[in-house]
Amino acid sequence: MRYLPLTAEDRATMLGVIAAPSIDALYADVPASARRSGTVDLPNFQGEIEVERAMAALAGRNRPAGAAPFFCGAGAYRHHVPASVDHIIQRSEFLTSYTPYQPEIAQGTLQYLFEFQSQVAALTGMEVANASLYDGSTGAAEAVMMAHRITRRAKAVLSGGLHPHYAETIRTLAHVAGVDVLSQPAAIDGEAAVIEAIDAATACVVVQTPNVFGTATDVTRIAEAAHAAGALLIVVTAEAISYGLLKSPGEMGADIAVAEGQSIGNGLNFGGPYVGLFATREKFVRQAPGRLCGETVDAERRRGFVLTLSTREQHIRRDKATSNICTNSGLCALAFTIHMSLLGEAGLRRLAGVNHAQARKVAAALSAIPGVEILTPRFFNEVAVRLSKPAAGVVETLAEEGVIAGVPYSRLAPSAGLDDVLLIAATELTTDADIAALATALSGVLA
């Protein structure tokens, strides 16, 4: 067996040193009722050739986004990741190391985490950022819990533009934490409506920009209203590339900025692993979830980095911890950091510009089609459109014709009564030919 270095001879020698009669003897503590002599009912070991064939067969039954015109977004976006990113994250020293608990031999990981935190803080316009959470949705839930801890209030108001799956993730956790969640009805352009719902019991309002319908919103007024009521503003962003074009949460008064970082450095991967970006104000950092990497010096006064403020974390604080998170999204954060370092500010702005431009072409092309109504007033790279037929069916039909037209809103929220709404995203990988193909196919099915 290729992954097992011990030889039969080694095993015998070692048992001798241990003075154990057999391997079974080492399992003596297992209750007789639970001991299994044979193997479980699964196939036995196979070589690389056989396993590779089986896996390739499974992969072959999926249609890669790159294989056809593709317009799905709604929280996961297909972007081009430079080849050097995937090359670097596969370096043994990054791939096969773990959480940097021994900083003297983990400076590689610690320094990129420090760079990651610095980049995330800059992108979100916030003072500090952590070393990543699982993804954007769990980050949003953690943000609500954090606001609950800070304000000691038990009500969270969620906008009608918040991604329904994010809202559900928040609700699931809020429920057991005793936090009441007030979700506003789905609204294409209604982030500001949360203002009416803010009261003295409100711990936080959660808004999203660009929201799930693609609408970009200046949340400054919402921030003012929240702060006036002693509540915190949590701003969610599901498409990190938008930071290159749109005013940042920090500039608009956010107290906590949460984002899905997948778009930078990471592939679609059918939904995971992704990387949650989490940034906040310096004064709240001791209430923040997740790891923090900080700068310090070594015994010879050379600069170095360590994990710090860990008295917030489960391994020190246990049931008093700010979160239970341990393993996070380290390698995805590295991919993010490398891609972001390659882009730089100039590249990011350019990339965001191309995304926006392609989305505008999509909107222009579709608005000409009878039976299609563009709903999103101000967008970055995604638009919601109303179709003259149920979106789910249209998407299925177009898929058969080789065009993946986008995400029917009904798939995210079946009971929202928006069955005719389709979410269509474009990125730098969307070609004009793709857009033409979508327009043609769409006119066809709607005719």
Binding site: R2, D29, G75, L268, D298, T308, R318
Partner: protein, 519 residues
């Protein structure tokens, strides 16, 4: 081309062996490296993109006009930066990585290759299910392997790591109690438990109470029985436990728990010790997370990502979170919204979980197979017991008898040496090894928890034991400096964590430059 001294072979004259410090601080192949913020250019980029009308026009107020503050690097600079950083890391691929409770085993490269097949890496979580039948089939197969290996009837795949799995398990438990209108308040957790256990219980709104431990490192049955009661929702017991021991009375623990109307959450982080040999279902477990990044070798990646699927008993299965895969005649489908009347407690995250990890884990499982996985457990346990046997002469093990996949030592053998567990660990770095898990579990003073895993060859383990024995002898011989000052041979000396915590510097700021310059 070049040539060495026109081929006139050179013969080194014997010279002093002491290293003169270099003129520029160079250290041969080890390169110091600044931060990207000190290296990059504000208008430099390593990504060539077509021009695009930035479209500020239609965005008005929303347009981001102020500088963001992100440096850019050309590709040669970026590559060199991260390659240099990488060489400052220890890694499994470099040497034994004996972090107890972390299962730092070899990560097969075939798994990486498979995860990068476009059919897996380039599919969107929300594209039509008719176009991702292979992905759903893979999730279904992974579920089948996990259920068969644990003997449990159901599994929730979506949790993103072990702690997330604990959350999933306790949410299901709480939902089950609520469904019965039986709101319970307490969760019992042994003192030896991993921090995520109490943290999770508290997160789910339970009061955490500790269970005492017996002298032989197991759950104290009497104490458990005493603390169990009508308001206890669940116990969270790790098995094999964090002392590296199998909970002998596990079946009785489960019986008592169930008798009290509570559920048995088992922390499965240490499943590697028993996979293929013992099925948690046969021990009375109601819920258990499986760290795919431990037992099933998805890479730890410097701290993540992982995956923490949770197997569930029939009692808890109805409360599993969305989404889940179903098989109809139209092929596989995803249930993303709980049907009316379902007890599902909700959703763990936006999408379907860590697909990238599923591919790696299933590739690993299929490679080993039922026989290989059983061998995995046996070799992991054998390696740990071998280490325990070799080191017990010099170091003190708090508990007798065979261990499972990790060998635990305390620091009583260091008494009077003025060398602490921390000092000892740092000296290991100089000898070329990553330290073991230190000061955990908390029930053992100055704990040193060593987990070699099954992928370590005997030669490497012997090299490791020889080094520890030599260090132990040095400590006892009073050779204290090599410990107090350690590490001396790492990229950096010991770091000042007090300074880091007292004046947190959590991001680069322009001032930082002066600090560097000042050094």
């Amino acid at each position: 081309m070049t040539m060495l001294n026109v081929g006139r072979p050179t013969r080194p004259e014997a010279t002093q062996a002491t290293q003169p410090t270099t003129l520029t601080g160079g250290r041969g192949l080890l390169q110091d490296e600044a931060l990207i913020f000190e290296l990059g250019g504000w208008d430099k980029t390593g990504v060539d993109l077509p021009d695009a009308d930035l479209g500020s026009d239609d965005l008005g107020e929303l347009f981001r006009s102020a500088p963001i503050g992100l440096p850019g690097l050309s590709e040669p600079e970026a590559l060199r930066h991260y390659v240099r950083l990488s060489q400052k890391n220890h890694a499994i691929d470099l040497a034994l990585y004996p972090l107890g409770s972390c299962t730092m085993k070899h990560n097969p490269r075939l798994n990486e290759k498979m995860a990068r097949l476009p059919g897996f890496s380039d599919i969107h979580p929300l594209q039509p299910t008719s176009t991702v039948q292979g992905a759903l089939a893979l999730m279904d197969q992974l579920a089948h392997w996990l259920k068969t290996l644990t003997g449990m009837p159901a599994v929730a795949l979506s949790p993103k790591a072990g702690a997330h799995g604990e959350l999933c398990g306790l949410l299901a438990i709480r939902a089950a109690h609520e469904a019965r209108g039986d709101a319970r308040k307490r969760v019992l957790v042994p003192t030896s438990a991993h921090g995520t256990n109490p943290a999770t219980a508290a997160f789910v709104g339970y009061a955490v109470e500790e269970i005492a431990q017996t002298a032989d490192g197991r759950v104290d049955l009497a104490d458990l029985a005493a603390k169990l009661g009508p308001d206890v929702a669940a116990i969270m017991v790790t098995n094999p436990n964090t002392c590296g021991l199998f909970e002998r009375d596990i079946v009785e623990i489960a019986r008592l728990t169930h008798a009290a109307g509570a559920y048995f959450y088992c922390d499965g982080a240490n499943f590697n010790a028993i996979v293929g040999r013992v099925r948690p279902a046969d021990l009375g477990v109601d819920a258990m997370h499986i760290n795919l990044h431990k037992t099933f070798s998805t890479p730890h990646g410097g701290g993540g990502p992982g995956a923490g699927p949770v197997v569930l008993s029939d009692a808890l299965a109805p409360y599993a979170p969305t989404p889940w895969v179903v098989h109809g005649d139209a092929g596989f489908d995803l249930v993303e919204h709980a049907p009316d009347g379902s007890g599902s407690f909700g959703r763990m995250s936006a999408f379907h979980g860590q697909m990238g990890m599923y591919v790696r884990a299933l590739t690993y499982m299929m490679s080993h197979g039922a026989d290989g996985l059983r061998q995995v457990a046996e070799d992991a346990v054998l390696n740990a017991n071998y280490i325990k046997a070799r080191l017990s002469g010099a170091m003190t093990a708090p508990f007798d008898g065979p261990c499972m996949h990790e060998a635990l030592f305390d620091d009583s053998w260091l008494e009077g040496t003025d060398v602490s567990t921390l000092d000892f660990a740092k000296a290991m770095i100089d000898e070329g090894f990553h330290p073991m898990t230190m000061y955990f579990p908390l029930v053992v003073h100055g704990a040193m928890l060593i987990e070699p895993t099954e992928t370590e060859p005997k030669a490497e383990i012997d090299r490791f034991c020889d080094a520890l024995l030599a260090l132990a002898a040095a400590a006892k011989a009073g050779d204290v400096d090599r410990f107090k000052g350690a590490p001396f041979h790492a990229p950096l000396r010991r770091l000042d964590e007090t300074l880091a915590a007292r004046k947190p510097k959590l991001r680069w700021k322009p001032e930082a430059v002066t600090l560097v310059a000042a050094e």
